[in-house]
């Protein structure tokens, strides 16, 4: 009965236009947030290096071959790169100055004995997509955790295949017993064997990665006073600003693996595009919310007589406030449900489109997009309530 009095004087045309605006804004808001998250997640988990992270080194030129230019990084150079606004973090990639070889344990039955001189490096745990507790080592530990270049396992399998021995999978490789033999290059009698365990693989680094504490130990005990040069650094760029990272690399004569650059560039371009859509969606939701609130105010002013009379009859202000705010909260709710429904239809087609285009982004729902809608809903509900309250009390 109360609604019959309060919502009789309406211009439904204006309400429908406001609802359509809100519907479009909500659909694009949920869609753009979902795909922004999915594109940023693209490649995550497949690679042990963190997102937007690349390893760079100085380009080797004829001059550097002749020792006329340096190929290592000074601390000052690292600090300068770190100071750039689009750089999240920079850390040196430390290398071994001692001799190290990688070999199978002689007790291992699954693979034949082999030994190879290798090159080991260490990177800060912040740049790796692994749990930090697994990336630790101290003297006396049963094994050293290592991350193996995938090329290495491919090479090993090629060797095994040639020997007509069954090849090893990633999982099996992680269970096999391997050892490092550490040796002082100036004193061949000073050597040590340590057990190692593969905890992951990487496509982006060509050396075996070890924890920083192990590298420090090896360099201190087996390298003596040899100066530790930084020839590679890890750079982590900010989301959607990968173009600036690339530009800086060009300016400074630095290079990185092309695959790392391609993924970063792709994510940056798609991310920027979706970010623009997200910006437009937020504006659309805000404007349509504003139009709905304006419509609420118009409705209140058109029904000023009804509101005033009901208050004079003894209707509690809170009942009228509830009637007005709930009416608009319901409208926004209906629009939101339709918007989410349309988003799922969009999602079905867009996921297929991305897959056809070779962009294998996750198809599960990004809950943040629904959380963003919930936030917009709460803000709208609050704005409706406050406006209804102000309008009703104005008639007192």
């Amino acid at each position: 009965m109360l609604n019959k009095v309060l919502f009789r004087n309406q211009d439904k045309k204006q309400l429908i236009i406001a609802m359509m605006g809100a519907f479009m804004g909500i659909t694009f808001l949920v869609t753009s947030i979902h795909y922004l998250i999915k594109v940023n997640e693209f490649g995550k988990g497949e690679e042990i290096l963190g997102p937007n992270t690349i390893i760079v080194q100085k380009k080797v030129s004829n001059a550097s071959t002749l020792n006329l230019t340096k190929t290592d990084f000074s601390l000052k150079e690292i600090e300068k790169i770190k100071a750039k606004s689009f750089i999240q973090d920079v850390k040196p990639v430390e290398s071994n100055n001692f001799d190290v070889s990688f070999e199978t344990d002689r007790t291992e039955k699954l693979v034949p004995y082999f030994r190879s001189d290798v090159f080991v490096q260490t990177v800060d745990a912040d740049f790796l997509d692994i749990k930090v507790p697994n990336w630790k080592w101290k003297k006396g530990d049963a094994f050293v955790p290592i991350i193996l270049p995938r090329e290495f396992i491919v090479m090993l399998n090629t060797f095994m295949s040639a020997q007509e021995i069954p090849q090893v999978s990633d999982d099996l490789a992680m269970k096999l017993k391997f050892k490092f033999r550490l040796r002082d290059p100036n004193n061949s009698s000073k050597e040590e064997h340590v057990n190692v365990q593969i905890i992951g693989f990487t496509n982006e680094v060509s050396s075996i990665l070890v924890p920083a504490s192990f590298m420090q130990y090896g360099n201190e005990v087996y390298a003596g006073t040899v100066e530790n040069k930084i020839t590679q650094i890890m750079i982590s760029g900010k989301e959607s600003e990968f173009g600036l990272v690339e530009e800086m690399l060009k300016e400074r004569g630095l290079e990185s693996k092309n695959s790392q650059m391609v993924v970063g560039r792709l994510k940056s371009v798609v991310g920027t595009l979706i970010f623009v859509v997200l910006g437009v969606s937020i504006i659309a939701v805000f404007v349509s919310g504003l139009v709905l609130i304006q419509y609420l105010q118009l409705l209140l002013s058109r029904n000023a007589y009804e509101v005033r009379t009901l208050l004079r009859m003894g209707y509690p202000p809170k009942d009228l406030i509830r009637s007005f705010s709930m009416y608009f909260i319901k409208i926004f709710g209906i629009v939101s449900v339709i918007g989410v429904g349309i988003f799922f239809i969009f999602k079905y087609f867009l996921d297929n489109m991305f897959e056809t285009g070779g962009l294998y982004i996750g198809t599960d729902l990004a809950c943040v997009s629904i959380a963003a809608l919930a936030l917009a809903y709460i803000l709208f509900g609050l704005a409706s309530y406050l406006n209804a309250k102000r309008g009703i009390f104005n008639e007192y």
Partner: protein, 213 residues
């Protein structure tokens, strides 16, 4: 509930000379259960009295109290129970919802307290000669018929005071007396008082005290 007008002077009426026995500028007490006729010519502030006495206007000096409490201190939420159960009003402009039926207008009020039955409402309309208008939109009724609907609506709630602003201005003597009979019966039933403003016609109303403006 006792209502006291203490040196009340509405701002728009401050420039007018008021008589010594006028409510305006004097201390007047309306005692619980009194039946008061407020007689005054046009422009003396009869509607202003109605609006100020129920807190709808605050543009006055002095003080109006309900049982000693200044009504200017009441919040909108304080007014709700007063308007639901202590003060009932028949406005001069009636304040009906013209696009709703007589039934809807009366039910809308009765929904608040459920104080009378639909049968009672229908009987009262019947008594006042508009029993057949139950389903009709109020906007299609004559002013006299609308006045009778407004009276039935005001009587449907519980009250301690009934404030009536020229409620019979569009009624003939016979219908006005019928209305008055209904009002008397309801006031008797509730032990309530009333204030009836009039332009001078008394139609043999049964009142206990007459006030001037």
């Amino acid at each position: 509930m006792n209502i006291v007008f203490n040196q009340v002077m509405p701002t728009p009426l401050a420039s007018i000379n008021h008589s010594a026995e006028s409510i305006w500028g004097n201390k007047i007490e309306l005692k619980s259960g009194e039946r008061i006729l407020l007689n005054a010519s046009s422009g003396k502030g009869k509607s202003t009295f109605t609006f100020t006495s129920i807190g709808l206007r605050k543009d006055y000096s002095g003080e109006i109290t309900y049982d000693g409490v200044d009504i200017k201190t009441f919040s909108p939420n304080d007014w709700t129970p007063i308007r639901q159960g202590k003060m009932s009003v028949i406005f001069q402009d009636l304040q009906l919802f013209l696009n709703l039926s007589v039934e809807d207008n009366l039910i809308l009020k009765n929904m608040l307290q459920e104080n009378v039955t639909v049968e009672t409402l229908k009987k009262q309309l019947e008594f006042l000669g508009i029993g057949d208008k139950w389903k009709q939109d109020c906007g299609l009724l004559s002013m006299g018929q609308q006045q009778r609907v407004a009276i039935v609506r005001a009587l449907s709630q519980p009250f301690e005071w009934l404030i009536m602003d020229e409620p019979f201005s569009h009624l003939d003597k016979e219908n006005a007396q019928k209305c008055m009979k209904l009002i008397h019966e309801r006031c008797e039933e509730l032990g309530a008082g009333f204030v009836l403003t009039s332009l001078g016609d008394t139609y043999d109303y049964n009142y206990t005290r007459e006030l001037k403006l």
